[in-house]
């Protein structure tokens, strides 16, 4: 069956923006440098402009501040309108990248099990993904030897997922009182994951979802869809999210 992989959707990625003053701000003596500061966690779409001189220190306009002020205010309003249209979505305390609005895990220990033990082709990539999570982040992983219980954080399963094109998925089956996820069921589809790079990548990907990550990145395993090379690690940005359960 023919499938066309869709490129990663383009969204604005920036942490600061320089606006060259035009007519509305032509009399301002220095080029305005606008920093857009994130207001609060989770409010990544709302940014506050701050005017600084080019050198970086905050300085009031010294001459004709009233007329300049009116023009400056007009430019602020115009720039704000532009920002609303642009709707930048990729910046948060962990740097440029997706805001990762998934359900974070319930603690620093990520225990896991198999709902039914799969073939070695899958136990190897699942084990590798769990080991990588343990080594690359502050999360500690441990396998539940006696099988899955209601509180096991990650329950792995290798099974045909009926919807074509879905390589794996993660479903939070129970949350804590604080809204974190207490337990995920993770499925890997053997019909879609026909080579080790894709098995390894999707195992890493779904494990990322169990730690609150959403899609994003290009060399990161949290990108969507098939890969042609080994892609089984998280970006620094994603590791920041995991380490802070955010």
């Amino acid at each position: 069956m023919d499938r066309i992989a869709k490129p990663v959707r383009t969204r604005f990625e920036w942490t600061s923006l320089i606006i060259e003053p035009r007519s509305a701000v032509a009399h301002i003596p220095r080029k305005a440098h606008w920093d857009y500061c994130r207001l609060s966690h989770g409010g990544y779409r709302y940014f506050m402009p701050e005017v600084r001189s080019r050198g970086g220190s905050r300085q009031p306009f010294r001459r004709g501040w009233r007329s300049h002020g009116v023009r400056w205010l007009a430019s602020v309003i115009a720039a704000s309108g532009a920002l609303v249209v642009m709707s930048p979505a990729n910046a948060d305390p962990y740097g440029a990248g997706p805001p990762d609005g998934g359900l974070p895990s319930d603690g620093a220990v990520h225990d896991w099990c198999y709902i039914s033990v799969p073939s070695s082709a899958y136990t190897s990539v699942i084990t590798a993904s769990m080991t990588y999570l343990d080594s690359a982040t502050n999360v500690t992983v441990q396998q539940v030897g006696s099988g899955c219980t209601a509180n096991t954080d990650v329950r792995w399963r290798v099974v045909d997922i009926p919807t074509s094109g879905v390589r794996g998925d993660a479903t939070c089956t129970a949350t804590t009182s604080t809204g974190n996820c207490n337990s995920f069921q993770v499925r890997l589809d053997p019909n879609e994951l026909t080579d080790v790079n894709n098995r390894r990548k999707t195992a890493c990907h779904e494990l990322g979802h169990t730690n609150g990550l959403t899609h994003g990145g290009t060399a990161d395993c949290m990108r969507n869809g098939a890969v042609t090379t080994a892609t089984s690690t998280y970006s620094t940005h994603h590791i920041g999210h995991i380490n802070n359960r955010g």
Partner: protein
């Protein structure tokens, strides 16, 4: 003159109270597409995103235009070693308004039943409260797995009347139109200034969406 003012105020009062009752009634029986999408925040997938509705149609069993009707508890799965506390899905019933591609059985040509994940923090009853009843939807359907292919499945026939097939949808397979926008329910995306026409087979490239804050 005074009588006229009094009459005007009285009529206005009746109109206000009537419209208030109507809104309240709607609120009690129907949620919104945005709220509905929120209940699936705990579901994430790794999938091959496609840009064309034609490709979605090619890989679907059938494509229907429909309206959401109701939610009920669906099939259960044993996901614990001791078979305690099974995972129970939800089933959403849709009234089919148009079959766009594929073939459905006689029963399913009228109503389709979709198995949905019930994700942490929500129950079937929560999904029912958020269901945007009567809103226009577009679904790319795949048959649900059967007990033969899914050994942890407990009750194959749950969630729909006898004889009706059960379907599932993938991340790009369920769209609901509301207030001049289209919501991709499982992807958690909103498409501003879009209609379901933009997502039908034969319409070319899919629109560009924005992630929902959820």
């Amino acid at each position: 003159m005074r009588l006229g003012i009094v009459t005007t105020i009285a009529v206005a009062g009746v109109i206000v109270s009537y419209s208030g009752c109507s809104t309240s009634s709607d609120d009690e029986t129907s949620g919104s597409a945005r709220e509905f999408a929120q209940t699936f925040r705990g579901y994430q997938a790794d999938y091959d995103e496609v840009q064309s509705a034609d490709i979605l149609a090619e890989r679907a069993f059938a494509v229907v235009a429909a309206v959401p009707v109701s939610v009920s508890e669906g099939r259960s799965y044993n996901i614990n070693a001791d078979n305690s506390d099974p995972y129970v899905t939800a089933v959403v019933e849709y009234q089919v308004t148009e079959l766009l591609s594929g073939e459905l059985t006689k029963e399913a040509s009228d109503r389709v039943f979709i198995e949905m994940s019930v994700t942490g923090g929500f129950a079937s009853s929560d999904i029912a409260q958020t269901l945007p009843v009567g809103k226009s939807a577009l679904l790319y359907l795949s048959p649900a797995s059967t007990k033969v292919s899914d050994p942890i499945l407990i009750d194959e026939t749950a969630g729909r009347p006898t004889g009706y097939p059960l379907f599932v949808v993938g991340p790009q397979d369920l769209y609901i139109e509301e207030d001049g926008m289209v919501f991709s329910i499982l992807e958690g995306e909103v498409f501003q200034d879009a209609t379901l026409e933009d997502f039908r087979p034969g319409t070319g490239e899919l629109p560009e969406g924005q992630p929902l804050d959820r």
